[in-house]
Symmetry: C2
Subunit: 198 residues, 2 copies
């Protein structure tokens, strides 16, 4: 998605070979027009999938999912990283390990909002090692529902997430695929050219 890649190039900040900071438009300050375009693109990509629910994870997944759910005409559910005070015990729970934070956290979704008839589009802001996506998939499966696919805003293609998800047969649609972060610069997968030697 060219508009997104342009935002990453112009407004993203490469902190290291591993870390791309996008708090200028995605996960702290939010460019709502860009997020709306992203949501509409997810909706377009999964328009033929019979989606009944869009599932994301708080907080950074909410903005890019908003217009996806709106365009698809479905509710949006955001998984909780912390159980809320009014949440009862009728929840689906999955443990998600964060390689970055080196800690495991439970994510929860109330059983009221997913059931066996649901066809779920999972959306997240980043795909790195795929642990958050696998946690969300686990929750959808606990409900007996079907995962139609995973929509990702920014994929770090140099990490294992896509491979893990595709090996399990899931459709992964990433709107920007980062091949490399190096010396302050982002290289996208579709910018790689095959150089032939004579």
């Amino acid at each position: 998605m060219e508009q997104l890649k342009q935002a990453i190039r112009e407004r993203g900040n490469v902190l290291s070979d591993q870390v791309l900071k996008v708090d200028t438009f995605l996960n702290h300050q939010v460019d709502v027009n860009l997020m709306a375009a992203i949501g509409e693109e997810f909706a377009r990509l999964f328009s033929e999938s019979g989606i009944t629910k869009v599932l994301t994870i708080e907080s950074s997944g909410i903005a890019p999912s908003f217009m996806a759910a709106s365009t698809l005409g479905t509710p949006l559910i955001f998984a909780r990283k912390k159980k809320s005070l009014t949440m009862n015990n009728d929840v689906f729970v999955s443990s998600v390990y964060s390689f970055t934070k080196q800690e495991t956290n439970d994510i929860t979704v109330s059983k009221d909002f997913l059931d066996a008839g649901d066809v779920v589009l999972i959306i997240d802001d980043f795909l790195a090692n795929g642990q958050a996506a696998l946690g969300l998939i686990d929750i959808v499966h606990q409900a007996g529902a079907h995962v139609a696919g995973i929509g990702i805003v920014i994929e770090k293609s140099f990490q294992d997430g896509r491979k893990l998800l595709e090996e399990q047969g899931y459709r992964v649609e990433s709107l920007a695929r980062v091949h490399q972060l190096s010396e302050g610069r982002v290289t996208f997968v579709d910018e790689l050219t095959t150089t032939k030697t004579k």
Copy 2:
């Protein structure tokens, strides 16, 4: 806002005289169409205020703020309850006491996203004791910026929040004002009729 009051009546859940659960449409499962209408209503109410930024707090503030920022043509900033890993130390911090959880938590906003020229619309999902709103106001003031007003989705009018904010001169616009939660039923402020004795 009639559409919101109807959602509260039909899809809300009165857990006690103090607690209204709205995770069916606001803070876990999200009715994006209702949230869009709410955001547009905030934008209409503050259309003459010269808003340059919409500020909310993760996670439940994001959905009702999304269309407000979009309609006003401004960025949306969500204050972090936990400092993110990529956040540096150039942040505004305010301590917010939660009467419900009986704990104090810091909320943070990067200094990159608010400055003295900003006119800020603060949006939050609930107004109870006003502590979160006061924390957000504190952050706007640390930036030297101006608070145009506070937009609230659901106000618990039987708690002190509105009084505290109005005493300090702030404009408070709540789209649903709950007078009472009692015996599983919600009474809104504008449903109170003056009963005259003969």
